[in-house]
């Protein structure tokens, strides 16, 4: 989390410095053309299942890193494909009387969302910043492994879900740019099982993600 904040700060500083030192550069893609950019992103994921995550991990947020491909399409449309990962480490626990009792057995959750997003970009000729909104669906693979687990004790789930997102990209220099976005996701039944989430009737593996992304490609 701290590293993500540092990264965000550094990126914002870079954007500010770049905006101050360089004149605006025109987008290089022809209006109405197709442009492809690759991106890497990092940020934080705050899971909706607050109580369940806090019981095991003492917090409901984790660092999310990923990357993908963003395709700008005619008519201001775009499509993204993204793969990311959130990994959290905590302690297995037991709930009783509204309290959490931890057992000192390490527990690691890894969530890998694979998402496809489509939406609209508010591109204007000559503008360096491009806002966008979109939505899509994805597959969310959750894997939970504890210390001393045997193979049959590892939880593996893959669940479908959907998301909405919005953000803005800023072209910095030649093919490089930076962006920031917020995503809200809903992954019903992503936490179904026999664990603490089930005890607390939390089934949603979705959350709110805030992240920055670095882009490289044709603008």
């Amino acid at each position: 989390m701290t590293r993500a904040l540092l990264l965000i700060t550094a990126l914002l500083s870079a954007v500010t410095a770049s905006a101050q030192s360089r004149p605006a550069a025109p987008p290089v893609a022809e209006p109405g053309g197709v442009a492809i950019r690759g991106f890497a992103d990092a940020g934080t994921e705050m899971f909706h299942a607050l109580d369940s995550f806090q019981a095991v991990f003492r917090k409901n947020s984790g660092t999310r890193v990923g990357g993908g491909v963003a395709v700008t399409l005619p008519l201001g449309l775009f499509a993204d494909v993204r793969v990311s990962r959130v990994r959290m480490t905590g302690e297995r626990a037991f709930l009783f009387g509204g309290q959490t009792y931890r057992l000192g057995v390490a527990d690691t959750l890894t969530v890998i969302p694979i998402q496809i997003t489509g939406g609209l970009r508010g591109a204007r000729r000559g503008a360096r910043a491009t806002p966008y909104i979109g939505g899509g669906f994805g597959w969310y693979r959750a894997s939970e492994r504890a210390a001393f687990s045997s193979a049959d004790e590892v939880a593996e789930r893959a669940t479908g879900g959907y998301h909405l997102l919005g953000g803005a990209d800023l072209r910095l220099w030649r093919i490089f740019g930076v962006g920031g976005e917020v995503e809200w996701s809903q992954v019903t039944n992503g936490l179904a099982g026999s664990g603490i989430a089930s005890s607390l009737k939390d089934t949603n593996l979705g959350g709110i993600s805030v992240r920055v992304r670095l882009l490289a490609g044709r603008w």
């Binding site: 297995r92 037991f94 057995v105 527990d107 959750a142 939970e144 504890a146 590892v154 939880a155 603490i196």
Partner: protein, 501 residues
Amino acid sequence: MNRRHALTAAAVLVSAAALLSGQEPGAPAFLPASGLPAIDRGLREWDAPRPPGGARAVSRPDAPDDSRLNGSLIVRFRDEATPDTRTRSLSLIHGTSTAQPAWADFEIVALPPGEDPESAAATMAARSDVAYAQPRYRVHKMFVPNDPLYSRQWNFPALDMERTWDINRGASSKIVVAVLDTGMAFRNATVRFTGRALFPFPALGPVEVPFAAAPELGGAERFVAPRDFIWNTDAPFDMEGHGTHIAGTIGQVTNNASGVAGMAFNVRLMPIKVLDGDWDAVFNSPNVATDDLVARAIRYAADNGAHVLNLSVGREGGPAPAVRAAIEYAVAHGVFVVVAAGNEFESGNLPNRFADFARDVPGMVAVGGTGRTNQRAFYSNTGSYVELVAPGGDMRRGGTTAGILQQTYDQDVVDRFFLSRFGPPRFDVFVYDYYQGSSMAAPHVAGFAALLMQQGITNPAVIEALMEATATDLGTPGRDNEYGYGLINPRAALRGMGLIK
């Protein structure tokens, strides 16, 4: 040529063939099948002694500390590593690459004598052309006690204790388990008694009775605040063997290459004598076991630092409010209380009055007994107060060896109540003996509670809830009067719950 000459010639020929074929020294030479059948010597009466610890009987010169092999390393070079970079990397540790073994994506790198595999591995792992490097750590089986008679203790594998001990290796000396019973063979002494006449046995007069600490219960440091409520002393000598057997199930010294194992083998034990036996009667003890004595002993245990209390005792008859109040006192002071459900199923199934209020006291459990097949033992009481079951043994279904094996007195020198050989007993001769009863089931739960305490769950009510939530349901689905919530599942409880599973 006689048979001996023929065999010698065959051996010489096979040896020569092995040499000519360049077979490595030490590789097995497979001789032609001789046609002789295998020898079956049947079951041994007693297991032969085994080497101590997880340790081996012999020590390899290339692995003196038994944890890793010296003289070699596992290295996985990255695919993009070139022969030049590999050579440069290997030169840093003076290593020599050998052929990649079959079914491996790594290679074994030979190290010169004296090269430390740990530091060599660290050096290699830091190289950009190396994906990973590690010493050749030796692999061992998961914790299985090496006590030679452990193989006769079906009760621990039935509870998946081997994998449980991987999570918690028998608790620690911070946890104290009080055993309120017939006393315990906890120290050596010779005690002079006067044996009075009790029909039909004549008076023994003054006798010197030897006592000894059970070898498998450990040294004096294991015992905390011993107390005898039958004789009003601080020397609760066991004059039956019941309490010593129960103490063994809780905390028998384990993995010492001797005898048998116990559930929570690192705890300390608090021996408290609240039951009198025949010899206590012959020697004219000032007290006999009564509710008030048991109630006082429970409070004594709570006030003297017990974390878990095992009561493999009880009675039928009227309610026991004094004992109930004492148990509630103990639970309120953070003591988890385990009570045997009783053995009266075939005698009217009268409830054990020390157990029949267990459902109303969170932090106290009543425990029934099961046999080898996880079925309720023939003797084990049923009723709404039964909350959990644990192995208590069922010799009717499985014979003697279906009982619970622990060390206790040799009854041949204790139980001398035959007119022909009536004489003073000895309490310094031990055997490993099979007992059965809910008395034997309860200490499994007491040991289990000690493991949970060690794991950080100290609230008795939470311990009970966790035990019940993780029990393996038996009998009618859900809680029932035969098995309660089911057979204890220590591993599931000690693992707790994750987010999803």
